[in-house]
């Protein structure tokens, strides 16, 4: 299947971190190509607020900070309440917190700062001292998180107000986890090779361990985590019980995350549906001459998932599915990173652990390069749905409502029972076929009903709606309607 350059510039802008008007400075090429340049970046005297700096470092930090804000603001509304999230992020956090204590690398410090600001439940946060001290962006974050006081962050719990003095304690607890986490990484990395009966056992084991670790770390918020974990396992069981299709395949659908209100836009692609057998995996990577056929593979095939973006590595990441239909994501040493719900899975060119996925998770491949002004330098942001969850939504309600729409057409076009037959005929014309594409109007299709009661597929009528909006000139009856007419109840 072809993932093409269909984006209308500036219009289709996937949800992006920098919605608050802060523009992301272009990601340094060096950063995309690897982490070898770290030392020089860190040695650079930073500009006052990190904006406009050409360092990949700072732009990255900036992004993380913005992500932090957005996520942070979303938190109370529950937008981030996906239950798997917390566990994942926390396990992530455990690994990253320790990593950043170990090496003064960039990719991870900012993540902990991010989780710090949005995940109050996570106790093993790194304090500002663990970050690169010469990075103004980081400094801003610490100011932001600790300096602004509880007033502006009252939605965050006690963790928010932890003073930097906690550093020692936390980094020491971090190094304990470090060892444990390394163990986990090794074990999980073995899974794909084993690819057999033991594989999913290890995966489950891994998940359980992550959760346990989380719990033990979080003595003060353990109840909270327990709750989260229970919810996770509940929902996992639900999805597992109905996920498999008749051929014994599990499926994933990827849809682009689009936000027209944002100034930058991720790569647009047509939704991708892939199916794989349990205990197999499916690679995600850049479109190349070699995998051309994958770009045109039919929906529901097991072909690799490819994107026409240069910030996506050739072998960027992979999806894996265990025998219960639980899907996992792994970064396969990508150079520009794989992000799961805004959290980077591993440093450049390092493999990540397998991360369990849930419906609605947002995966980002790479970061916008050169501001993402060119289509091929845009990151890929996609929302995942698993095991045909998107099709389960077809239910009796949809069918009933569609039937009611039809009978509504009958009701308006007839005066009595005698005219029922005529009414049905009219309804047949009026609500069975779209006059523009000549296809049937069926349940679960997006429809548009005009004030003159004609009905089309929304997709078909949309060009006509937008051409003269808010005036609408009905192609069927030539009635002129005002789509901005006030909506009032007749009392």
């Amino acid at each position: 299947m072809y993932i093409g350059a269909k984006t209308k510039t500036g219009k289709e802008s996937p949800v992006s971190a920098q919605s608050s008007g802060l523009s992301l400075s272009p990601v340094d090429k060096k950063m995309l190509s690897g982490s070898g340049e770290r030392a020089t970046h860190e040695a650079e005297a930073p500009s006052s607020n990190g904006e406009g700096s050409s360092s990949g470092n700072n732009s990255l930090d900036e992004q993380s900070r913005n992500e932090g804000r957005d996520a942070h603001y979303n938190e109370p509304s529950g937008a981030y309440s996906s239950t798997g999230d917390l566990l994942r992020s926390s396990s992530n956090n455990a690994g990253q917190g320790t990593s950043s204590g170990r090496r003064s690398s960039f990719g991870l410090g900012f993540l902990s700062s991010f989780t710090n600001s949005i995940r109050p439940q996570a106790p093993n946060v790194d304090s500002p001292q663990n970050f690169m001290s010469n990075s103004p962006t980081i400094a801003n974050i610490s100011q932001y998180t600790s300096g602004n006081g509880p007033g502006s962050f009252d939605i965050l719990s006690n963790e928010q107000s932890h003073p930097p003095a906690n550093t020692q304690v936390q980094s020491s607890s971090g190094s304990d986890i470090d060892a444990a986490n390394d163990l986990n990484i090794t074990r999980v990395n073995e899974v794909p090779e084993e690819d057999g009966s033991g594989g999913e056992g290890l995966l489950a084991d891994e998940t359980a361990r992550i959760q346990q670790e989380r719990e033990s770390d979080n003595s003060n918020t353990s109840a909270n985590v327990e709750q989260q974990r229970n919810r996770t396992s509940d929902s996992e069981q639900n999805s597992i019980s109905r996920g498999v299709d008749k051929d014994g395949f599990f499926s994933v659908r990827l849809t682009p995350v689009i936000d027209h209100s944002s100034s930058t836009s991720g790569l647009y692609f047509s939704p991708v549906i892939r199916r794989i057998k349990p205990l197999t995996s499916i690679p995600i990577g850049r479109y190349t001459e070699k995998n051309k056929s994958a770009a045109h593979a039919p929906q529901g095939s097991s072909a690799p998932i490819v994107f026409k973006s240069k910030v996506v590595s050739r072998t960027h990441a992979l999806f894996q599915c265990n025998k219960d239909g639980q899907w996992f994501l792994k970064d396969c040493k990508s150079s520009s990173g794989t992000f799961l719900n805004h959290i980077r899975l591993s440093r450049a060119s390092e493999e990540s652990t397998l991360m369990p996925l849930m419906d609605g998770d947002i995966i980002q491949l790479g970061m916008d390069y050169r501001g993402g002004t060119e289509e091929v330098y845009r990151c890929v942001k996609m929302r995942c749905e698993f095991n045909k969850s998107w099709q389960r939504k077809v239910n009796n309600f949809n069918l009933e409502i569609h039937q009611k729409l039809k009978s509504l057409a009958i009701g308006t076009s007839t005066n009595g029972e005698n005219n029922q037959a005529i009414g049905k005929a009219l309804a047949g014309d009026g609500l069975s076929e779209c006059a523009i594409c000549l296809m049937k109007l069926d349940p679960c299709q997006a429809l548009f009903i005009s004030p003159c009661s004609h009905c089309w597929h929304y997709k078909c009528i949309r060009p006509i709606i937008i051409k003269s909006y808010p005036q609408f000139y009905c192609p069927n009856c030539r009635a002129v309607c005002d789509l901005e007419t006030d909506i009032e109840d007749d009392d």
């Binding site: 006059a435 594409c437 000549l438 296809m439």
Partner: protein, 153 residues
């Protein structure tokens, strides 16, 4: 060339399975957007007994814009010029995507039955028509016999 839209396929099928009386439209073999059309002259008009050939082309953005239709057979009509171009509102500003090849051809057939010299395309014909309608109708009949008679084709 891009794949043929389903709408065009559907319309073509329906033109074959449920033809309009007096009108035929068959797609060209090498271009499914190009149709060979024939319209019989309406019986109560000067064009009765004639069989008029037309060509019809569906542009890329059809059905969002009108099909292009042109008479290939010479015809003496105030709204059809020497080149066969047709002055018909639904082919221009009043096109609607809810219209189809079928409805457009019916409109053209109706135009043959009801020439409108007040909104002319062929000015000379329209003037003749307004000056002496009987003579113009006779001329139209002659042209029909000369160029559009079924026996001569």
């Amino acid at each position: 060339m891009a794949a043929l839209p389903k709408r065009i396929i559907k319309e073509t099928e329906r033109l074959v399975s449920d033809p309009v009386p007096g009108i035929t439209a068959t797609p060209s073999e090498d271009n499914l957007r190009y149709f060979h059309v024939t319209i019989e002259g309406p019986s109560a008009s000067p064009y009765a007994g004639g069989l008029f050939k037309l060509e019809l082309y569906l542009p890329d953005d059809y059905p969002m814009c009108a099909p292009k239709v042109r008479f290939l057979t010479k015809i003496y009509h105030p709204n059809i010029d020497k080149l066969g171009r047709i002055c018909l509102d639904v082919l221009k500003d009043n096109w609607s995507p809810a219209l189809q090849i079928r409805t457009i051809l019916l409109s053209i057939q109706a135009l043959l039955a009801a020439p409108n010299p007040d909104d002319p395309l062929a000015n000379d014909v329209a003037e003749d028509w307004k000056k002496d309608e009987q003579a113009a109708i006779k001329m139209a009949q002659e042209w029909t016999a000369k160029y559009a008679s079924t026996s001569s084709q």
